[in-house]
Symmetry: D2
Subunit: 406 residues, 4 copies
């Protein structure tokens, strides 16, 4: 009797089969850690359903990878079992390098290294633990020695990562407009000269995919409220770090303490195994537990920021477009100095400007290739009669001016 597959129930894609032979990868602590890191950070301050984890996103992306590979094989693309497995593991593990509230950490305690590079370090560690089992997956991830189109499925302007997270985030937020017709797009995939292409009749679906992504950025990911909640968390960690390095003991759990007390560089990550250990010991719970503890700190700035974040008294925000006048910071500083008896430097924690921006499409980064009916391959920006270069390359930027809610 054949071994039964394991099945994971995904509310987005239904039953997802997990082959038995990758259960050890799935059970690795570095993968299980993703069950304790939310995909969308503090977006739940605006969309309270957005509690899903990076673990489930990774499983969903792996499912789409299976679908994409089945489709490409149907098209006659030759993909071996080993290559297929490598591509599935590469996408399963692509997010292991994310820390809790990644964007916040990147502004505070982790610098000089991207989360993709940390993912690679972690994959190498997993590979050691599992006796070299995921070597091919690492090659797909780093785009060496494996078909290029498999890497493009893992990471490009139209990869299964984006196909999963747009639909998944839409689903859990209840924002139907971000839903992406992943089945339809996958059905249009093909490979030409080792590059992933989309057949011409799928061009409307690709345009909608780009628009869905753009909408999700402005309506969800860069929503002023959650961006500003993240800014508060950034300021909390910055203040805690400052206090900590000034020798004021701060109650928090050891791994976070480590990052509060030390200045860690990218090279530290690459060369000092303890750094990676401390990093992967952290998840959302460490950060939230710290904020909850620090709300009782005797430092006014730190306790005020923590209390306001926990009790939903977020900074007041004004949206400014490029070219608008910035708010008068000095008068705010003076006001807070006077109201709270704090120093001007401390008052800086209570106001400021956060700038956000996003691209809809980036042809320089490989772009999206369209396979025309005549067999030619063209960049999407050339092939679309709507989303031409000037539209797609427009770079939009907004400034969120924030200040304490008095």
């Amino acid at each position: 009797m054949p071994t039964k597959r394991k099945i994971i129930n995904d509310p987005v894609f239904g039953f997802i089969s997990i082959p038995r032979h990758i259960l050890d990868v799935l059970g690795h602590p570095d993968v299980q850690r993703l069950t304790r890191i939310r995909q969308m950070g503090l977006s739940n301050t605006v969309y309270p359903g957005a509690m899903h984890t990076r673990f489930l996103h990774s499983i969903g992306a792996m499912h789409l990878m299976s679908e994409a590979i089945a489709q490409l094989r149907q098209q006659g693309v030759d993909i071996s079992t080993a290559q297929s497995e490598a591509a599935r593991l590469a996408i399963l593990l692509h997010d292991t390098g994310h820390g809790p509230f990644s964007h916040v950490l990147e502004h505070t305690i982790v610098s000089g290294i991207t989360h993709e590079e940390i993912s690679l370090l972690i994959m190498q560690r997993i590979n050691e633990d599992l006796g070299g089992k995921i070597s091919d997956a690492i090659e797909v991830f780093t785009d060496h020695e494996q078909p290029h189109f498999l890497h493009q499925l893992v990471s490009s302007q139209l990869d299964v990562d984006r196909l999963d997270y747009l639909s998944r985030d839409s689903f859990f937020c209840g924002v139907s407009e971000g839903m992406v017709a992943s089945a339809r797009i996958i059905n249009m995939l093909n490979v030409v000269d080792d590059n992933l292409v989309v057949e011409a009749k799928g061009i409307y679906s690709v345009e909608k995919f780009l628009l869905a992504r753009r909408l999700m950025y402005w309506q969800v990911y860069l929503h002023k409220t959650s961006v500003i909640a993240e800014q508060m968390l950034t300021l909390i960690l910055k203040r805690a770090r400052q206090l900590s390095q000034n020798g004021e003991g701060l109650l928090c759990l050891p791994p976070l303490s480590f990052f509060m007390e030390n200045d860690i560089t990218g090279d530290d990550f690459r060369t000092n195994r303890d750094v990676l250990d401390a990093y992967t010991a952290m998840d959302d719970h460490d950060v939230i537990a710290a904020v909850k503890t620090w709300q009782y700190s005797k430092d006014f700035v730190l306790s005020k920021l923590c209390q306001d974040l926990l009790n939903r008294r977020f900074f007041k925000v004004t949206v400014l477009n490029d070219g608008d006048d910035m708010p008068d910071g000095e008068s705010l500083t003076a006001q807070y100095v006077k109201s709270f008896g704090i120093s001007p430097e401390e008052a800086q924690y209570f106001h400021g400007v956060r700038t956000v921006s996003t691209d809809t499409y980036n042809a320089d980064d490989g772009g999206i290739r369209i396979l025309m009916n005549d067999g030619q391959v063209r960049d999407l920006a050339d092939a679309s009669d709507m989303l031409n270069h000037s539209v797609l390359n427009k770079h939009v930027r907004k400034h969120y001016a924030y200040q304490l809610r008095m």
Copy 2:
């Protein structure tokens, strides 16, 4: 210009309007705490999408309360604006007494008081903070001085609490079979003699509601894996408490420390404000952060349990039905004593039997009243041609025998 309502995006029910005048209740720390407590505890070990919070459940139940009231008014039932508001607030706040992983806490650190009674204590505290604003809601919750049918909508065999959580838990788990046709059931509601009734033509929907609930219990809430994960957490807290009371310092955050170090009774809750404060200072993050810290404890039992829980090496489980032989505990104890050099008492932490049971329906508890076409009101068990008394009252019990995974 009229004040705009606030809108919450719920992936289950869509846009939910929040009247401006209850925003202060929504922003109260005791309600915001629910954003940090998951509805389904450790069910995410089996259904990884099940990360939704008690906060969103409370919002959803409030939405269904609005729908139910609109329907009853349409039927000619007289419900004043104040009564409507009271009922909405009562259901919004009905779960404030839940702690993190409630079922676990009830087996360890909280005893002699139900979570419903804690909810009442918290509602009274909120009422003080808000100048008596929710007095009527408390009366609906306690079934005093307000129409009885409003209380039944909050708490009965067919209340908006169950209508929401069955659909919501199904949605996030991806178990479509638990979905309940809440709109249809609500459309069949009426009131006779101050009691909630369902019109006869809704009987099939009510039967399906009961079956959906039964299915959700056995397939989801009482799934052996998540029940056993919760059992591990129970044992962890029990061991930590034992160590703590033996004077061995345990690293954890202050509120949980308080409950680890003290034996708290129901009367302590009722009379000592500090107890309630410590209780409401806790949420899921305190518990998970503690487990993460304790995995490095020098106590073998505690660290083993914590590591296994975090890394998904759950106890091995055998399902026994009523009447089956129980496993031989003594030989397991001996085995663990020998393998780990621990005492027989300590070995008890590594095996045992957990019994679970559920009722499909309980006519004694008020039951569900059906309004027959001839105007008579009958209990569901009399009115249904399928779910008669012998079927509905059957009480099913299962035993999960568990032991360490070696």
Copy 3:
């Protein structure tokens, strides 16, 4: 380059792949006819979304057959490519014998033969047209020379026919309660001794499937309004036939004329190819077009019935349970004779009683087999702790007394 599959977009199950080599079966006029026959007859009088065709149902059932076969193979059941193809074609063609508004026709113009037998005659005709291509499919359909469990997938108490139509009809009616977790049930299928079985842990899903079916019968298929609309159509055809055989020329299209003018028996179907040709020349449009034409008939009874059906002035209905008194038909007859100057025989067309009934489950008909955890196979009624024999075998009957809406 491999031939691309054809894909059908199904709003219920998404993309459904159609293998190229069955396109000739799909294009056969006897299959294309199903695109012009609605699945639910006159149910759209109550559920206006219920316009879907028997064609799409057949495609959906074929899709579920593919899923079931993949699952059984995963379980280690040996199914050859030819057997798989035969089973898929058998379910694709199982409904070809349905006429327009089948239930109506069975009460009027077709007698002495079931629609299943007509399906077989049609499959034999298709087989001739396609050079014997579907011989194996016919054997699966008739349960000869092919694995019995394949026939059970086509036709039994838990077949892919029911799995499809319950979900599909629910979907198009907007009655979410009829939705069946087909993916979950299919995932629990296995084969023991050439019989289809469901694994024990799927028992809750099977119970819910039976309840969903029961609910759909009483809430949708046997809804008094659509049953009575069908009764009106039955009476229209009966009257038209009577007039026709009395030599009064009736304007309608040739195939329907044929059945109006002749008394056709089951044997005629079996032996006279012209009868089958006339039968398969008819679809919904012939019947509706006839009713529209006959509303201008000079026969009062016929024109009145047609006008009332078309303009939604359905008979008034009273629901009677077994044992209730039947209405006084004679006084109604007298009233209509007086009001309209018609004969007592003609007045019979304007009132009467229509009896409907359904079984939830029928163990005699093969039942549903449950594979217990200990390897034994038991009938569902023995295995379920809720749906025992006395509950499942209860046979419910209702009487709809109807009369002209004056």
Copy 4:
């Protein structure tokens, strides 16, 4: 006891309440006729789920009108009960002028009048039948004497008609990409200077709405297969008409006969009640029944076209873009003359070019007004940073060259 509302179950929007006092409008034969006219004509040749009716679309659009009015009142816009009722009836009746397969009829038997104008004639007839009850609705429809923004909700670049049909057609086709976030868009509506506006933060949703519409046009409404199936039906009616006017008796039902035998102008519609009667006597069944009958015509051209349409042997299609060479019609004509022994004129029925085109947006037609955060109102094309004038105004045209499938 208050009269209970009637409820229609819509699979797209759920339960829709129908106020009792418009039941007579709903029951009028001109509205009931819409239950026999499919919304999407022959699109079911590509999307087999697309069987829904204009009736259900009208109900859905009425539901969205109610939602829009509730939202505008919430915004402080003053709308009386009578105005609300008028707007709801106007949208309920806006499609009554559609014939079966409207686009086909507009190319053949109806000329010199739009379906909107026919809707108005029919609404005036309903108004007479119901004693002036829908006079206000007619004013909203014709944009006289009623608030202009109500007319815009009925008919503009962003009306409830489009909001309903895009979501509904997507739903029934299973093309999720056409789904429109109608609830979100409606939540952003407001009125400035008697014009409907969308608040600035809704701009991404409006962009997605336009893209969804564009996608639905190219992927669904103008899909080459269904367009060509409609072209075949157009040619069938044209040929039948030619034969009929040549005195060759054609078997079909009286209303269609009337249009086959006579040349009807717009003025005939406006002045001759019989014309309108004949028109509204027709629905999908008349046309399909005729095609089924004519497949046995002794005229080769007519019978060939009918058989091929019914049995899914549609013309072969080549898509040509603007500027491509047109196919060589003369050689095709010669080929058919030779193969079938028909005249060159008759051979014209078997090949040709059908041109299709659509606008994404038309600012000249009133456009979509955006209410900026500073209170200014700007045209969408000015307000959007993506969909600027050059993009939005691009007019795309395709040519479908077709020929008989040999």
